[in-house]
Amino acid sequence: MGDPSGEPGSSMHGVTGREQSFAFSVASPIVPTDTTAKFDLPVDTEHKAKVFKLFSFANPHMRTFHLSWISFSTCFVSTFAAAPLVPIIRENLNLTKQDIGNAGVASVSGSIFSRLVMGAVCDLLGPRYGCAFLVMLSAPTVFSMSFVADAGGFITVRFMIGFCLATFVSCQYWMSTMFNSQIIGLVNGTAAGWGNMGGGITQLLMPVVYEIIRRCGATAFTAWRLAFFVPGWLHIIMGILVLTLGQDLPDGNRSALEKKGEVAKDKFGKIMWYAVTNYRTWIFVLLYGYSMGVELSTDNVIAEYFFDRFHLKLHTAGIIAASFGMANFFARPAGGYASDIAATYFGMRGRLWALWIIQTAGGLFCVWLGRANTLVTAIVAMILFSLGAQAACGATFAIVPFVSRRALGIISGLTGAGGNFGSGLTQLIFFSTSQFTTEQGLTWMGVMIVACTLPVTLIHFPQWGSMFLPPSKDPVKGTEEHYYASEWNEQEKQKNMHQGSLRFAENSKSEGGRRVRSAATPPENTPNNV
């Protein structure tokens, strides 16, 4: 787990851990290497990797990374597998626009709940089993597409398949057991981005599979059902690979689970309270709903949109739609990176401005996409929109770790759930009724993105300021220590439960911007609770 003190929610620590800039490795004096360990990568005292070696499959660290992001990506493939085939499915099942829209809403709604539960599942069973259970138990839901005969069935099956998006949680959790918290930011950001790519891969994969099956002689209305066997089998294969090749911890399986007898030091109720009463949490829930949320909505509608509006063939529409999701490969990490660059000059204020600019730009490009009348303009607008939305996702999670130290896990979970909620809401309003054509829906979605990004201006950190206000000059309230320690009451402070927060506060001083970074003498990455 990312934090050895075992507090509930600490399992999510390091999910978004972006205390330091993206780093590929951690230098030795900062985090001591355990030289007795025999791993392919240098490891720390907990045997977590200190280096992120992308093209290696070495057991256990990099192998975990690849197993993890591929399983997550597989779940994205199956959740959005119906989207590029909708032009066929709608004729087979006699769907109306409302039915298609409702199915899209259903596909993202299930995981709001399942992501919240998954954290507990990972705590109980470990991330390896959490991932394998989810992936293999959702394979039947994918196969059950072959039974669907009407709109109700279609919506139900898409809802059930959507539960598997909770692999996001197991993916990030598993990574934080394997990688040192100093580099976990890049590792998790890459895994999340590459996982989201599945939403793009599916737009290419499913029409091609469908076409092949049709050429083999099946009728259209049978071919699409057969095509779903491919993501179904991917689930089974990935589940088996995770079970056979994966392990829970660097040293093997289960050993730390035996130690689970250690009672959680922090109370869930308290953490929940601090998460919920921090107004910034809710602003990020809204914001992520309009960066990740619109990405998910667009994954659902874009292939059908290109097919209908520009009279393209199914697989051509699929190729174009795929490029939307595939941009995640670099767009999401790039967003985080841009946030880091802004932070080196302007600190947290730079991060907030970067987020606002990127997300608003994405919204404007979305408006342009809705208004584009020719194929070329639409493609250009869509690609720019995808870069904006996905980079905004990366930039969001570059700030979230600073909102709270104590309740980071829950806030990350709530933000993630907000993404799905925003997606469901957007699809419900703009893409499920006959009131808007799809192009009008896209335009209005863009307007809503711009409007819902404005609350970023309200996020104010007393120690660092906000977009328009400078930091507080109060010598007590304007410090990082005060902000992070205020999450603990006096009794807890007397028991020294807030030490982790104080260390975090010390490390976070770099968010003050250039004047602070140049003044600071110790390196940003003082060893924290590793």
Binding site: N92, T96, M136, S146, T219, W224, R225, I240, L384, S434
Partner: protein
């Protein structure tokens, strides 16, 4: 910086392309000569509430050129299509009727296309078995007369102008097969069983190791 310039340039070019996309395709449905072709479509099974089965039932289509047709010398090809009645277009914008011919989506299913023989003046007929990919819906039949440059010049349809008479309903095939259902169940069961087997196995091995 270079990337920004490239992006801006491509944006400019694209917007120019958009504006230069001229009005060359605006051949309108309302320009076509109405009623030039008299066409009737008789389903193989008729009656109150009869729904034809896709892939099984047939339509017997009879057509001839109307005496009122003025553009007859231009006819080169006759294209017969299956079209959606208004009731099947509700809440389904991908089947919408547009006046611009290239945009119109109300007649997507081709029945037949053949050369027009001006020497035959009597009514001709042919049978059409409803294809297996015809969706569930209510339909009528329309025939377009197309000239040598592949532009529609006239049409006729088996229903009235309001598209309320002589409509027939079709029920699509479900696309489901027993073998598919069985395979689906088998794979699902395999997935769950494999998971349980692995889990139980590992727990057993762990117990054995612990007891050592």
């Amino acid at each position: 910086m270079a990337i920004k310039k490239l992006l801006f340039a491509s944006l400019l070019i694209c917007s120019m392309i958009q504006s230069s996309h001229g009005a060359t395709k605006e051949r309108l449905f309302t320009d076509l000569e109405k009623g030039s072709l008299e066409i009737t479509a008789t389903p193989s099974r008729t009656g109150e509430g009869v729904v034809l089965a896709a892939g099984i039932d047939k339509l017997s289509i009879t057509w001839k050129v109307s005496s009122t047709a003025t553009k007859e010398p231009e006819f080169k090809t006759i294209k017969v299509k299956l079209c959606y009645a208004p009731v099947s277009q509700v809440d389904r914008p991908w089947r919408k009727t547009h006046n611009e011919l290239f945009k119109d989506k109300s007649c997507p299913h081709k029945i037949s296309s053949f050369s027009y023989d001006p020497t035959v003046k009597t009514a001709q007929s042919f049978d059409y078995t409803l294809e297996r990919d015809i969706p569930t819906g209510t339909y009528y039949v329309r025939a377009y007369a197309v000239d040598a440059i592949d532009h529609e010049v006239a049409f006729g349809q088996s229903t009235n102008e309001a598209k309320t008479t002589n409509l027939f309903s079709v029920q699509a095939i479900s696309g489901r097969h027993k073998s598919l259902d069985i395979a689906s169940v088998c794979f699902s069961v395999f997935s769950v069983v494999a998971l349980v087997v692995f889990f139980v196995n590992e727990k057993r091995k762990a117990k054995i190791e612990q007891s050592r």
